[in-house]
């Protein structure tokens, strides 16, 4: 298994500002992902964080709004830019070793409230 931590665990931010969420894995992993869970909804994949290259974004998500970094095999950041109240969500990082049928392990999530 992999132990994943996220910082911050929660934050309250003002409209128009940006927040960077950090994700740290306790061992090297191949794949890292960022999800969003809006109130009352399922987890939605934002992007796959690729080590050493640009992230791969899902439909409806763009790099300018959600820039992602992954400088090494154990760390990634997600920035929520120019926030609006609609960005209030739980943001979750996950990781897997990338082998067929390998499980994705999730961090505890970052609860973001935008006023």
């Amino acid at each position: 298994s992999a132990v994943i931590s996220q910082k911050p665990s929660r934050d309250i931010c003002q409209r128009g500002t940006s927040l960077t969420i950090q994700c740290q894995v306790d061992s090297q992993v191949t794949m890292m992902f960022w999800y969003r869970q809006q109130p009352g909804q399922s987890l939605t994949l934002i992007a796959t964080a690729n080590q050493g290259s640009e992230a791969t974004y899902e439909s409806g998500f763009v790099i300018d709004k959600f820039p992602i970094s992954r400088p090494n095999l154990t760390f990634s950041t997600l920035t929520v830019s120019n926030m609006s109240p609609e960005d209030s969500s739980i943001y979750l990082c996950s990781a897997s070793r990338g082998e067929i049928t390998d499980t994705q392990y999730f961090g505890p999530g970052t609860r973001l409230t935008v006023l």
Binding site: F33, G40, T48, T103, P108
Partner: protein
């Protein structure tokens, strides 16, 4: 378009009885299915999975059944225990070359075990 559906947002079961959580999917390309459990303020925790080449997978008190023709899977928990009270997410993926699991999640079912 919700490709993975959990039509019951909540379920209450007496302790010791069987809990049955259901999940339907629409994308026939999905070939790997997972159940995650989520406690409040924590990230989802992997519970059990099943490949499309099987119709049943069992792990202790947890059994997942897959009916490919009906595009339906279910999670059985028996006997149910108070610690099983959580939100359960069904997830599905198309296993691409290299093990890049892009998970599509259902909206979750909140299971409450009544002592």
């Amino acid at each position: 378009d919700q490709q993975v559906k959990q039509n019951s947002p909540s379920l209450s079961v007496q302790e010791g009885r069987i809990s049955i959580l259901n999940c339907d999917y629409t994308n026939s390309m999905f070939d790997y299915f997972l159940w995650y459990k989520k406690y409040p303020a924590e990230g989802p925790t992997f519970l059990i999975s099943i490949s499309s080449i099987k119709d049943k997978n069992e792990d202790g008190r947890f059994t997942v059944f897959l009916n490919k023709s009906a595009k339906h899977l279910s999670l059985h928990i028996v006997p149910s225990q108070p610690g099983d009270s959580a939100v359960y997410f069904c997830a599905a993926s198309v296993l691409l070359g290299g093990g890049n699991e892009k998970l599509t999640f259902g909206t979750g079912t909140r299971l409450t075990i009544i002592p």
